[in-house]
Symmetry: C2
Subunit: 382 residues, 2 copies
């Protein structure tokens, strides 16, 4: 087991009605004026926006709105948010939405405290020194952003989908009410399942040190995601399945499964980020295409772990059967497993391969994921 530091100061308020606590938590942190970030008008239609507005008003907290944040959020919108936050001198950022809204909120929180252009923080031109305090009400469980210090944003001018990560970006409080997720579409539910599983398998398969304890935790979470996704496809109103799915999504990327793990990397994310950046496909849909293809290519590098995965997740006898079982499960729940299902044809491969090169540099795996290797993996996804 590798040396590690575990520190996760985010307070999670989990369960029904917890959104009612947002005003109090903001007030406890001395907030006077908040930038409320959100995506579609769904939160207005469903009444959540008004509830939050009233809740803040009761605590005397002023509100500035930044709506219209899209999936695969873009840096131009982040810049708009930073300008708004500065203009109105807000002292906190509140995200009401899923991972895209929250990641944008994190980038705004850091960007407000940085004098130059925020994209500098994504390309490593500057470190992150400070951020406005950040709060979240989650309406979709997938990215784990509610309890970690990372954020992924796309540069809409350069088609680069990059990330930032710093301990100042942990949300102070994240409210996770599974009941608020009941309106998530069937498509986004299965994309979310794919996203969470991808978070769990990257280190599981690639780490040079992955103790059995951590492997067991990962398998427990994957089995839970599979089971609860199936329950939710049967009955979207199954609160308990929604809750276990949501908590598994949080635990998948809050540091728990990474403690003591070493020498891992994120090849599936590095490749998928290019699909999202170039073709604006949903991140989870891109991942369910990349993961099985990557697994087929990677198999020989860690056959024992694939055998373990097959047995403990799918009760399958061999590592290759485990990969087939996962691909088949993705097909069954209706998330894509082939590039053409995303509308991406073979002719696009060179463009993707080129875009992936900057991602694998950022993830530090350019030596393994050469253009030739990425081409092989993408061809397995055709």
């Amino acid at each position: 087991m590798e040396n590690f530091t575990f520190f996760n100061p985010t307070k999670i308020e989990f369960g029904t009605g917890k959104e009612q606590l947002i005003g109090q938590h903001l007030a406890d942190h001395g907030t006077k004026k908040v930038l409320l970030c959100y995506g579609s008008e769904r939160i207005k239609r469903e009444g959540l926006f008004d509830l939050v507005k009233q809740n803040l008003a009761e605590k005397g907290i002023d509100l500035v709105e930044l709506g219209g944040i899209v999936s695969n959020p873009v840096i131009s919108k982040v810049r708009e948010g930073i300008a708004l936050a500065r203009e109105h001198q807000v002292d906190a950022i509140l995200s009401v939405g899923g991972g895209s809204v929250l990641d944008s909120a994190k980038a705004i929180a850091a960007g407000v405290c940085y004098a130059e252009d925020v994209w500098d923080l994504f390309v490593g031109k500057s470190g992150i020194e400070a951020a406005l305090p950040l709060f979240a009400i989650l309406t979709l469980a997938a990215t784990g952003s509610e309890m970690n210090a990372g954020a992924v944003v796309t540069n809409d001018e350069t088609s680069e989908k990059f990330f930032i990560s710093d301990s100042v970006l942990y949300p102070k409080v994240s409210i996770v009410n599974p009941a608020l997720m009941q309106g998530v579409s069937r498509d986004y539910l299965v994309y979310s399942a794919s996203d969470v599983i991808a978070h769990l398998i990257e280190a599981y398969f690639t780490a040079s040190v992955h103790p059995k304890l951590q492997s067991r935790l990962v398998e427990s979470l994957i089995v839970t995601v599979i089971e609860t996704t199936e329950s939710l496809l049967d009955d979207p109103a199954d609160y308990d399945a929604r809750a276990q799915f949501a908590w598994a999504a949080t635990l998948a990327l809050n540091g728990l499964t990474y403690s003591g793990v070493a020498g891992f990397n994120y090849p599936n994310h590095a490749i998928e980020h290019s699909l999202s950046a170039l073709f604006n496909v949903p991140h989870g849909a891109g991942l369910s295409v990349v993961v099985p293809a990557w697994m087929k290519w990677y198999f020989d590098r860690n056959p024992a772990k694939f055998e373990r995965f097959a047995k403990n997740v799918f009760g399958a006898d061999s590592g290759k059967q485990g990969i087939a079982a996962l691909e088949s499960w993705f097909n069954k729940i209706g998330t894509p497993t082939r590039l053409p299902q995303l509308g991406i044809k073979e002719g696009e491969l060179p463009r993707i391969v080129e875009n992936v090169q900057s991602n694998v540099c950022i993830f530090g795996i350019a030596n393994i994921y050469t253009p030739e290797v990425v081409t092989i993996i993408l061809k397995l996804a055709l």
Copy 2:
């Protein structure tokens, strides 16, 4: 899944050499003078004491010593620590030792900030308003106290073993270096295994709401404890086993396995605390006696969960076989499973039953664990 709040602000520094960071962490929190709590002279013999002393000196931090804290720590020693802390006006408490030292340190940290007698906090005469900042270097993994807000101390005048719990008692930083645990005796290793398993099974079996996700996490941790204990009995120098054991012990009681769980209680701890309080037996040794007896009595109340436990932890076919397998495993590793092995004879039962009554009141389960029921359970442990 039940509503919950998850908040655990303790920073864990895990791994070899991490004790070298203690001075820096204390300095980061503005510490000028610290009360260093420890137990036996082992930390002096093994050089840890000098290392810590030098490490603090390098940061200009003064040191006041409180040595001689015993297993099943006592409130008289806590009072001595509070007096010492006040006399020298320390601004932080540092525990160097196992759970007994750390729990004493927590009680001192709270007691210094309370004007009346510290035992008031244990009997609910007053809430805990504040505590001095608390730091730990762990030399034995078992109680989970390094990453939670609880502490258990015995009143040596009244033979009451009671607990306190408050969010101000989370250690700021806990250093968990498995290499520092290599000197733990064979006996204390197996008692620790029993303690960790007891922490994991209380809610697992007794909760009215215990989602499958949490059950899987608990089973993952129990299997890890069993596996690594056996490895360590074979080879006490097996660092990786020591590390996984230690991290499992931390995760067993840091809130993770309790999130979303409801309606649980701690009958085994309620009963064992009386064995420790009256006969000064090691807590883990008492638990390995109580747990199998309690399981036999409790079985009919949750047969499905016992079946699940049997299958997922021991690969056994029936719930009763699972209980037998656990008892047999305790016997195999050499932790006691019967009261006479603790030197406790049948004639002592009435005295234990009487003492247990105050514990079950404090744990809120006096309605279930009547004197008659506790007698039945204890008889199963003869």
